[in-house]
């Protein structure tokens, strides 16, 4: 886990995808995923087309396929669950080799795997090509309330600090001979969580003082935002628009 620049999903680069403004990419991501989710499960051709779009974007982004696929693994536990659906699904069943599966369940599994994977793939691509401060700036550009963006910004800044304190805490416990012995041993976890909260909160107090010291007066000033040229909007939204067209076609046929 990581925060800030080199966060776990970021791949440093200078591709056309990296250069697109974050706000454009965020809207593009939403458009693409909306199209994917709204597509009927039976339209297999449409999902193939989405996968193709994603592959083209991946090539454009210069993010290595290996990097992309390992990050996509976050999807795996869910695929494992989806694979169970054919066995618990309702409706008529048929034989698939040695197994008996429900047709509706099979379709449900396909629906889930296709959509969840495509959506996660698009999200991974966004995260891989966009640095965290840019995502935050993009969110505030898209009118996400500045207070939420500010909370997110603090959270990302201190994620590693807090996780580091937590890690040291557990090492210190282990160093003094602590071993979890039974399933009921939640107490040390919880007590260290409590201690961690106190430390986090007290750090919040000091950070607030540091902000005051540098003239903070309750107004959160984000950095100046440049105008995004229309061509960049068009270029960034193009995959999303194509996906939307495919979705409409898939629903009509």
């Amino acid at each position: 886990m990581s925060g800030g620049h080199a966060h776990a999903l970021h791949f440093h680069g200078h591709s056309p995808l990296h250069r697109l403004p974050a706000a454009v990419k965020l809207v593009g991501l939403l458009a693409f995923v909306l199209a994917v989710v709204a597509t009927p499960a039976r339209a297999v051709w449409a999902f193939s087309a989405y996968a193709l779009i994603l592959m083209v974007l991946l090539v454009l982004s210069e993010v290595p396929a290996r990097f992309f696929l390992t990050r996509l693994a976050i999807d795996l536990p869910f695929i494992a669950f989806a694979l169970l659906l054919p066995f618990v699904g309702e409706g008529p069943r048929f034989n698939l080799g040695p197994l008996t599966v429900s047709a509706a369940g099979l379709l449900g599994a396909w629906n889930l795997i296709a959509k969840a994977t495509l959506s996660a793939g698009a999200s991974v691509l966004l995260a891989a090509t966009t640095e965290v401060p840019d995502i935050l700036a993009g969110l505030s550009r898209l009118r996400v309330p500045p207070v939420l963006v500010a909370i997110a910004s603090f959270m990302i800044r201190y994620l590693e600090v807090v996780a580091g304190e937590f890690r040291r805490n557990r090492i210190a416990m282990a160093a003094r001979g602590y071993q979890s012995r039974s399933a009921l041993d939640w107490k040390p976890i919880a007590v260290s969580a409590g201690a961690l909260f106190i430390r986090s909160f007290e750090r919040g107090e000091r950070v607030y003082q540091a902000m005051l010291a540098r003239g903070y007066d309750g107004r959160w000033r984000m950095e100046g935002q440049q105008v995004i040229p229309r061509t960049q909007w068009l270029a960034g939204l193009f995959p999303g628009i194509v996906a939307a067209a495919i979705m409409v076609a898939s629903r009509l046929w």
């Binding site: 800030g4 965290v132 603090f154 600090v161 000091r206 950070v207 540091a210 003239g215 007066d217 950095e223």
Partner: protein
């Protein structure tokens, strides 16, 4: 004497009645570098938080370059006093170094181009402009400290107040910090337990204990005064003898 900072009869108690500062008075001339020494719990950090108006005194006055601290002048005082906190992780709270250094100037109302210019100047003066796009938590201890100093330089502070600047620094980082601070012309007040550091950097020191100023004089003389040192739980590192080193 022309004063950069003059504090008179400053007293402060916590809401529960604990007296932390008792009639503290001191004056610092422009360009001076002064060490503020004292045992833990002497009230040094509390005192420092007053210089910026983060804590407000029960009585007494603070005057900075002719401006007296009050509700009306709070903002101006905060711009003029640059406070560098002990833990750079508290000081550097923005996602990038650039955004963090820009935080002060942006709050103090400088125009965007002016903010950018100041950020660059401040980071260059601490020799760390190349870190501008990095995230604070990926920097080394020494880099964090220098960037933390840049965050207050960017607002054109007249008085730099540093709380334990050498804590958690390796010897090389500490040496670089000495070089940086001695090269800065700004008036400096340095709160520290690191006596050789003060000896190297500050010709003058003030000792606080139990909320009072108990000594104020040349650093070399204070550090050589065994009685005074022992009375206030101050100890020199083994083998360090200020009388043997050319006094500053």
């Amino acid at each position: 004497m022309v004063t950069q900072l003059s504090v008179s009869d400053l007293s402060f108690s916590y809401p529960d009645g604990t007296e932390v500062l008792k009639q503290v008075s001191l004056a610092i001339a422009p360009g001076e570098k002064v060490g503020l020494l004292g045992p833990n719990g002497a009230g040094k950090t509390t005192f420092v938080l007053h210089l910026n108006g983060i804590l407000r005194a029960s009585s007494g006055t603070i005057n900075l370059g002719g401006i007296t601290l009050s509700d009306e002048t709070l903002r101006e005082i905060r711009r003029r006093v640059g406070l560098v906190f002990q833990d750079p992780d508290d000081q550097l709270f923005m996602p990038t170094v650039f955004a963090d250094v820009a935080f002060g100037p942006a709050n103090f109302g400088f125009a965007p181009e002016e903010v950018d210019h100041r950020v660059r100047e401040a980071l260059e003066s601490v020799g760390e402009w190349h870190l501008a796009d990095r995230a604070p938590h990926h920097l080394s201890g020494g880099e964090r400290r220098k960037v933390a100093i840049a965050t207050v330089l960017a607002s054109d502070s007249e008085l730099l107040v540093l709380d334990e600047p050498t804590s958690n620094l390796d010897p090389a980082g500490r040496r670089e910090l000495v070089a940086l601070l001695s090269s800065l012309p700004t008036t400096q007040l340095i709160v520290t337990h690191d006596l050789p550091f003060v000896f190297e950097l500050c010709p003058r020191s003030i000792i606080m204990d139990r909320g009072r100023v108990v000594a104020d004089g040349r650093t070399g003389e204070l550090l050589s005064n065994r009685q005074l040192m022992a009375a206030h739980r101050l100890e020199l590192p083994f083998g360090f003898d200020p009388t043997n080193i050319a006094s500053r």
